[in-house]
């Protein structure tokens, strides 16, 4: 296949996967911030179980792809040899605080935008801008020189995926470890999730978990397997259609930033529509389709200065936080986790902590 048509396939697949994600997330009320809020404020674990099950489904699919040799996960961002612990913690905490102030994570804001929420449009623009500033701009220097300085970094020779961490350079041992870890973790999650009778009966939560998990696996397959081909210019095997030139799957902050960049600089021939950009638009459009079909589309705007300022602060923290933590509640929380990356685990725990602490403060301020 020619490089341009291969990229079209990758981008088209990203758009389709994103659209299904948006449609299902809107229909089922899948929401990572909502999941944390339900646990912290209501002691209800339904949506948290859905999120956990999505991780387990993704984990099983991804490690099957890895075991079969279809996708080389050691070439992904999540397997990086540099374990930026300080960056994952600070970024994760900021993202957690941010999503709680901004009415939801990046994915939820895309879903809300599809439902007619103009607050989310403002959040997404500001979040995307803050992400660019953190990737390549003024905050990028701070991120690299302070948060990702040698003090905040541990170097793992075999990368930070748990199987390689435990098994060292022994490739066969790492493969056995991969099977054992995936099996143990996925089984523990499945037992925890399905021991709850209410979850077993909740069609929405089950649907959300299975579809989101499957979409993440699909994304990896598209970019990491279909997208790997010989570059006609360099004659080297190259990953086509992604911004990172590596395998990618669902993640929503950096792709929102790349979407803004694409709009601003699209006459620059090096800027192309990528898998990530396509997923961003796919999610919003899929959600719009559901909103129109279910007659739940409503225009919404900020209700007060306080409402708007919370959303703006939240958006900045999400943009900064996700780039610093190398992902959001989906990018790290499902996609990264599915690769069994230590950094993803640390980032996810930090995001949940940041969000839960903010909720506790909000609750205390109400009294």
């Amino acid at each position: 296949m020619e490089a341009s048509s291969l990229t079209t396939v990758i981008v088209g697949s990203g758009f389709a996967l994103g659209a299904v994600f948006g449609f299902v997330a809107n229909k089922t009320n899948f929401c990572t911030m909502g999941a944390i809020s339900d646990v912290v404020n209501m002691e209800h674990w339904g949506r948290m179980r859905a999120w956990l099950l999505a991780m387990a489904v993704a984990m099983i699919g991804v490690n099957a792809l890895g075991y079969a040799g279809s996708v080389n996960f050691s070439e992904t961002l999540y397997a990086s040899k540099n374990f930026y612990w300080l960056s994952y913690i600070v970024g994760g905490l900021c993202f957690g605080v941010g999503m709680t102030l901004a009415g939801g994570c990046a994915n939820k804001n895309l879903v809300r935008l599809g439902g007619g929420n103009l607050r989310s449009l403002v959040v997404l623009f500001i979040m995307g801008f803050a992400a660019i500033v953190t990737m390549k701009g003024m905050l990028g220097t701070f991120r690299i020189n302070v948060l990702q300085s040698p003090f905040g970094t541990v170097h793992f020779e075999n990368g930070q995926l748990l199987p390689a961490l435990f098994a060292g350079a022994d490739a066969a041992g790492a493969q056995t470890m991969q099977l054992a870890l995936t099996g143990a973790l996925a089984l523990a999650i499945v037992i925890f999730v399905y021991k709850d009778g209410r979850f077993r009966k909740s069609l929405d939560n089950n649907l959300a978990a299975l579809i989101v998990g499957a979409i993440v696996v699909g994304g990896w397959y598209v970019t990491g397997h279909l997208g790997l081909a010989e570059n006609p210019e360099t004659l080297e095997m190259t990953y086509f259609g992604t911004n990172s030139n590596r395998p990618e799957s669902m993640s929503f902050v950096a792709p929102s930033a790349y979407s803004l960049e694409y709009f601003a600089y699209s006459t620059d021939v090096s800027k192309i529509i990528t898998f990530g950009i396509a997923t961003v638009f796919g999610v919003a459009l899929g959600s719009l389709v559901y909103a129109l079909a279910s007659k739940s589309f409503r225009w919404e705007a900020f209700s007060s200065v306080q409402d708007m300022s919370y959303h703006i602060i939240g958006a900045v923290l999400m943009g900064f936080g996700a780039v610093t933590a190398a992902g959001c509640t989906i990018g790290q929380g499902v996609t990264g986790i599915s690769t069994l990356s230590l950094g993803s685990l640390l980032a996810l725990v930090s995001i949940i902590a940041g969000s839960a602490i903010t909720m506790k403060i909000q609750l205390a301020m109400m009294e």
Partner: protein, 75 residues
């Protein structure tokens, strides 16, 4: 519809309307009705899920002029 207490959740974003609803219901007695007014359209789904999860019946949902009015009975 008659109600015993009113909660003004206008201008609050998810998840605060639900959190405030839970707190308000905690101070009420069985059978009393709480009226909640929200401007966040996410509350439509959230309030239905809240009622289902907690067993406090959602008696009615009315949407008018961009506001959502819910009547929740304390179980």
């Amino acid at each position: 519809m008659n109600f015993d207490k009113e909660l003004n959740a206008r201008g609050l974003s998810c998840p605060l309307p639900i959190v405030k609803t839970k707190k308000s219901l905690a101070d009420m007695t069985t059978g009393q009705v709480l009226k909640v007014i929200s401007t966040d359209c996410g509350s439509l789904k959230d309030m239905a899920a809240f009622s289902e999860q907690t067993g406090n019946p959602l008696l009615s949902t009315v949407e008018e002029n961009g506001e959502y009015v819910f009547y929740v009975k304390k179980k």
